[in-house]
């Protein structure tokens, strides 16, 4: 057992922390609203390696990248493009052209739809409003559709660039039948793990903001962090953040090292990271008192995204049923 990061991983995390601190400070996050996409940040990310760092990388290393990304709330569809590039690579020769476009110079934004298409339409695609390429399941085919995005998303809680997209038109079939299902399932698991990483980063950053505020804000002549009911909520959130981080990293590690456990751990990591992000951001916001309700304070940026990023995968209680399928096998006769 070894719960420490390697030297290379420490360096990787440190480089990304520096990158996001510089390129995605809260002002830039606010400026990128409501679309939730910063073209300049996308260019800088491309210079750093862009979506091409996805294929061939260890899932754990990608999860570690997503933690500082989430902590910075970076207006960049990082998880979606990494997972999509890996999916295109896994599709082999049929995905080669699309992969080249998605990892070229400059790269096109290629994203995945998390739910199968209905009548050729995939709904609420996480980066649908900014993606040049959308990969999704249309019937028993896994297809990649190339079409210019309209850079408009419906106003939404997390200011995420979500949009409905068509899977028909100029498209490439990447796989069919069980192979299509298998590729999509693997991509969905990886998306859950990397999003869990992003949510863990968000949760940790929100907690830090809440703790710093509780130390500096005085009421009744003492820092409010000395009140037990404040300290209690922060201690509970800190415990959940540690648990969520361990679980997200375990799931990411399992993706390469213990694939039999992947489906269950990916679901667990995603569900728990979502709950924890909401708990940490909600607690930190509350600790701010009335100031937490003001748009001027950054904590609201975390509070909104904690919920919105979680809902991208659907109703969390359905997510729990999905986890149950992984743990106990699907129910016979259920849809």
């Amino acid at each position: 057992m070894d719960l420490a990061l390697s030297d290379d991983q420490e360096r990787l995390v440190s480089v990304l922390q520096t990158f996001f601190a510089k390129e995605s400070p809260p002002d830039r996050v606010r400026d990128a609203e409501p679309l939730g996409f910063d073209p300049e940040l996308w260019s800088k990310f491309a210079e750093l390696g862009g979506p091409g760092i996805g294929p061939g990388a260890a899932v754990l290393d990608l999860e570690l990248i997503c933690e500082p990304f989430g902590a910075a709330l970076a207006p960049l569809p990082l998880v979606d493009v990494l997972v999509c590039a890996r999916l295109l690579e896994a599709a082999g020769a049929d995905g080669a052209d699309v992969l080249r476009a998605a990892t070229g110079t400059p790269p096109l934004v290629a994203t995945i739809a998390l739910h199968p298409g209905v009548d050729g339409v995939v709904r609420r695609v996480p980066a649908g409003a900014v993606a040049d390429i959308v990969v999704g399941l249309d019937g028993d085919e896994l297809v990649a559709v190339t079409a210019p995005p309209d850079h408009r998303s419906p106003p939404n809680l997390g200011a995420t660039p979500m949009a409905d997209r068509s899977l028909r038109g100029s498209r490439r079939v990447l796989a069919t039948g069980w192979r299509a299902t298998e590729l999509a399932a693997r991509a969905a698991d990886e998306w859950r793990i990397l999003t869990a990483g992003a949510l863990v980063g968000l949760a940790g950053a929100a907690l830090d903001i809440g703790v710093a505020y509780a130390k500096s804000r005085h009421q009744f002549g003492v820092p409010i962090g000395s009140f037990q009911s404040i300290a209690r909520d922060l201690a509970d959130a800190a415990t959940a953040v540690d648990g969520a981080r361990l679980l997200a990293r375990e799931a990411a590690w399992a993706a390469d090292e213990a694939p039999a456990d992947l489906a269950a751990l990916a679901s667990m990591a995603f569900l728990f990271a979502g709950r924890t992000a909401q708990q940490a951001a909600g607690t930190a916001l509350h600790v701010h008192g009335g100031y937490g309700y003001m748009l001027e304070y950054d904590i609201q940026l975390y509070y909104r995204r904690a919920k919105a990023w979680t809902l991208a995968a659907g109703d969390p209680r359905r997510g729990v049923q999905h986890l149950a399928d992984a743990l106990f096998g699907p129910v016979e006769g259920a849809r």
Partner: protein
């Protein structure tokens, strides 16, 4: 990173499973439930003869020098089998303390038989007026030549009716701040003046109140310096927190899943019910995190560190989530849920009902949830000391 305990631990786990298959049966578990005594001499002696009471101690103590990951495997498997092990837990707290602060004579006298499983210790910290504020103990020890005379009362002296000795915290000086006037003693429970009164609990476990009236013990049974009891307690508490293996909640989940797979309700397997699946899946998440917290404590120990905040997070999490799991799983059993162990038709042989009664104590003993949260807030997050 590597989340596996490793081949050495896995190999030892197989040995422990074979031991469990040989020594643990339903009779043993029923005996523990019936008497409420969470200690079984047969298993204890068997563990002692294997050298597994202190399997992690070095070879110079006649032990096996098992590493923290092997110890985790041992604890996991005993827990999953439901082996009552309060006696081992208490004894190891005292043994670890003696190893670090005991005299050479005390080590020679107490450690070999305790580690061989010949007898067990009870812990005498809590009193009617002092629980979490353990340093407020009032039980008096007064010097009389080469002897000490002890008078007072201890609460929750669990296993006092089976133990040879109680590890007793007593006040030896009333003229100094409370932390500076305490001394630790090893008191024979068969000494004249010791009285043991049973206390029956919500979870069915038996504990005790112990009374001490002019109990005389030699100075050689003092552990640590006179008035240095708090330093000894600090060592002992380090070994009480944390725990490095799976918890009751893992066994609860495992047994409940097995029951749900094997049981039909309304013509379908219980495991097919979406409400059942939701509860079991949520408990699986909590348990995975409890496992990761426990294994992190082992990892910190294996790396030569002392788990502080990590131990508190583990204790807080497993205790709080065990309560949540027991409540959710009991709801899931609906009107069969209240059926107790032994009742005809009791689901999971009443284990969920029993756990629902047992779970509250886990947020109290070994450092209450409130104490753990204070440690996390102050040492982990650097928040100012709270008003207490």
């Amino acid at each position: 990173m590597d989340f596996r305990l490793g081949p050495k631990s896995d190999a030892f786990r197989d040995e422990v499973r074979a031991f469990v298959a040989e020594h643990v049966d339903d009779d043993l578990l029923e005996r523990a439930n019936a008497t409420g005594t969470m200690h079984d001499w047969d298993v204890h002696h068997a563990l002692g003869s294997r050298g597994w009471i202190a399997a992690g101690w070095p070879v110079e103590y006649g032990c096996q020098g098992r590493d923290p990951y092997e110890m985790t495997a041992l604890k996991d498997e005993l827990r999953l089998a439901g082996v009552p092990q309060d006696g081992i837990g208490n004894t190891m707290i005292v043994a670890n303390t003696l190893r670090h602060v005991g005299t050479e004579e005390q080590k020679r006298r107490f450690l070999p038989p305790a580690l061989a499983g010949e007898y067990i210790f009870a812990l005498g910290y809590s009193e009617p007026d002092s629980g979490s504020d353990v340093a407020a103990a009032k039980t008096r020890a007064t010097r009389d030549g080469d002897e000490w005379v002890i008078n007072g009362q201890k609460m929750f002296t669990t296993l006092a009716h089976e133990a040879r000795y109680v590890f007793l915290l007593a006040r030896t000086n009333v003229d100094v701040p409370k932390h500076k006037g305490l001394t630790m003693f090893i008191v024979p429970l068969d000494a004249p003046g010791v009285e043991i009164q049973p206390v029956h609990t919500l979870g069915g476990e038996r504990t005790n109140i112990t009374f001490y009236t002019d109990v005389r013990i030699p100075d050689t049974l003092r552990v640590g310096q006179v008035d240095g009891g708090w330093e000894v307690m600090t060592v002992a508490l380090t070994f009480e927190r944390g725990g490095t293996g799976l918890t009751e909640a893992h066994r609860l989940w495992q047994e409940t899943v097995a029951w749900a797979r094997a049981t039909m309700r309304d013509g379908r397997p219980v495991i097919d019910d979406p409400l059942v699946r939701e509860r079991l899946a949520n408990t699986a998440i909590d348990n995975e995190i409890a496992k990761l917290f426990a294994y992190r404590v082992s990892w910190v120990a294996a790396e030569g560190g002392l788990p502080g905040v990590e131990g508190s997070m583990h204790k807080l999490w497993y205790a709080e989530r065990l309560n949540a799991a027991a409540s959710e799983l009991l709801d899931m059993l609906a009107d069969d849920g209240p059926l107790a162990p032994g009742a005809p038709g009791a689901p999971v042989d009443g284990l969920v009902e029993h756990t629902y009664r047992h779970a509250p104590v886990t947020t109290i003993y070994g450092g209450s949830s409130e104490v753990q949260r204070s440690i996390i807030a102050e040492r982990g997050l650097g928040l100012p000391r709270s008003r207490r």
